[in-house]
């Protein structure tokens, strides 16, 4: 008795391994959970025990969530946090645990403890289409009996052959990238075709966050399209978004704990924290990253970026595009364009983001609570946000030509340095429907 109660107590004290499927209106839940010691945010369903469904779950997200659910080894459990009642989640996961609190962590801990001590049954398989079929074929390796090319081992055909760019006949491996893929931006979907270890083609899939009715709190930059918003609020939000992009870049490049420190800084960011950002910029650019990993990764021809209003991305490439330079509210604060222009690679973009974070904090401090910006198209943390056009929408058509010929690690580095945010694009699409666009 003593031993089992001791083991039970130890089991309930261990951090909860969570994998998150977050809709567009719950975008910050993953970075917030990263900072909680009671929760361990794992990189994929194989290491998880709880599947957290946060915010609006679209059909695309739900399909991925079902696959993730079935990939979690039992015992497993699902928690829907701030999901609209009676939506697709209840239909897909009958009897799912729900939570509407501000903070999902206490509920996460409670259900994980109940699961671990056997008071709650494991969630049964939902029959996602990833189930493998039987090995078919007559040859000694299930290959169909005529050479290596025939047959369908486990019901999946073998890769097609294509001619690689060096003239070698090679198997082209098509890898579907789902919305929950580790190492790429959240919600990035598509099909990458590999020739060996290099990318031969990329087809970008549709945005899984797109939903006509997002329920959560509208982000400040989206509100600013139609309503006057305080410059201080916008600039703090910008600084936070930029720091999160920096943290994600650091994480992708293996500097996980430094990334966590940056996330912590972003979570409690105040205008007075400029010196911390300066210290971080010096540390990151001189020591940790730009010395090697990020240099010459993801170089983009500035001509490709011109005219697309892609914010820090364009300014790191030496382009002078910033809507704030024409905004009277910002000109009154003495806004000056920050331009990196030293080298147009992932390291340059990291420096540019940190410089702009610093600048945003300075602007927030100078603006104070009373300076207000007039509604209209706004320079967001990733580029200009207009009615019906988000930065991600303008960036995605460039991706296929940017990734061809890169290895997977450089694709991950490039995508992290681009800071593709499909949640923002979903918000833009949801707030500026065709009807409201016509009203303008």
């Amino acid at each position: 008795m003593g031993l089992s109660s001791l083991l039970g107590r130890l089991a309930t004290d261990a951090p909860v391994a969570v994998t998150v499927v977050a809709g567009a209106d719950a975008g910050d839940v993953a970075p917030d959970l990263c900072l909680r010691p009671e929760v361990s945010l794992v990189t994929g369903p194989r290491q998880a025990e709880v599947l957290l469904l946060a915010g609006t779950c679209t059909d695309d997200l739900l399909r991925a969530a079902l696959a993730a659910h079935d990939a979690i080894p039992p015992p497993r459990i699902v928690l829907a946090w701030r999901a609209a009642p009676g939506d697709v989640v209840s239909a897909a996961f009958p009897g799912v645990e729900r939570c509407e609190d501000e903070d999902p962590v206490p509920t996460l801990r409670r259900i994980a403890a109940e699961l671990r001590t056997g008071q709650r049954p494991s969630s049964p398989l939902r029959g996602a289409p990833t189930a493998r079929s039987a090995w078919r074929g007559v040859g000694p390796f299930g290959q169909g009996g005529r050479g290596r090319r025939g047959g369908e081992p486990y019901g999946r055909p073998l890769a097609r052959r294509e001619t690689a760019r060096d003239g070698l006949l090679i198997d082209a491996l098509e890898v579907p990238v789902g919305p929950l893929q580790t190492g790429v931006p959240d919600g990035f979907t598509g099909t990458i075709t590999f020739h060996g270890d290099l990318v031969a083609r990329l087809e970008v899939g549709r945005n899984p966050f797109l939903s006509p009715h997002l329920t959560g709190c509208q982000p400040a930059f989206l509100r600013s399209l139609e309503h006057p918003v305080a410059v201080e609020e916008l600039e703090l939000e910008r600084a936070r978004a930029l720091l999160r992009a920096v943290a994600w870049t650091l994480r992708v490049h293996g500097l996980v704990s430094l990334g966590e420190r940056v996330l912590r800084l972003a979570a409690g960011l105040r205008p007075q924290d400029q010196d911390q950002v300066v210290r971080l910029r010096r540390f990151v650019t001189r020591w940790a990253v730009s010395g090697g990993q990020l240099r010459r990764v993801g170089v983009i021809d500035p001509a490709l970026l011109a005219g697309r209003s892609l914010g820090p991305l364009a300014r790191a490439a030496g382009l002078t595009e910033d809507l704030r330079a024409e905004d009277p509210a910002y000109l009154a604060l003495g806004f000056e364009l920050a331009n990196e222009a030293a080298n147009n690679d992932a390291a340059g973009r990291l420096r540019q983001r940190l410089m702009e974070t610093e600048q945003a904090l300075q602007l927030a401090q100078r603006a104070g609570p009373e300076a207000v910006r007039a509604p209209g198209p706004v320079e967001g943390p990733r580029g200009v946000i207009r009615a019906g056009s988000a930065p991600a929408d303008r960036l995605e058509p460039l991706l296929p030509q940017l990734v061809v010929g890169l290895g997977w690690q450089d694709v991950a580095g490039l995508l992290a340095s681009l800071d593709l945010d499909r949640r923002e694009a979903a918000w833009v699409a949801a707030t500026t429907s065709p009807a409201s666009g016509a009203r303008r």
Partner: protein
Amino acid sequence: MTVSTGVDGDAVTGLATYGAALAVFAAALAAVMVLRWAGTAITEVPLEEHAQVPFTGGEPPRFHAWNRYHVRYYVMTLMFLAFDLEMVYMYPWAVVFAREGLVAFVEMGMFAAILMLGVVYAWRERGLTWA
């Protein structure tokens, strides 16, 4: 007699040595079996079929992962072989060169020229460019 006892003694010592090796082998085998049994006995969570398919972010894989892979580091391997073989032959050749003189020098020149073809090929494949 003394010779035969000596032989017997040696045979016994030899058997004893094998016996010790056998005992170590048997103990190791038993340890492996026990650990394997304990491993399956305490986990008791069978791997479901869904968990045996690669998780590619929520989309089912379209092709089997059994494919031919382009080994791009072959250029580096080529360079290694070219220079390594050269060095392997140069040491014994240095001894022969002292005795044979010019003939050995010409022969080595021919050998190195053939190896150089490999280096030129690697050069064409951009194997000498850093990163």
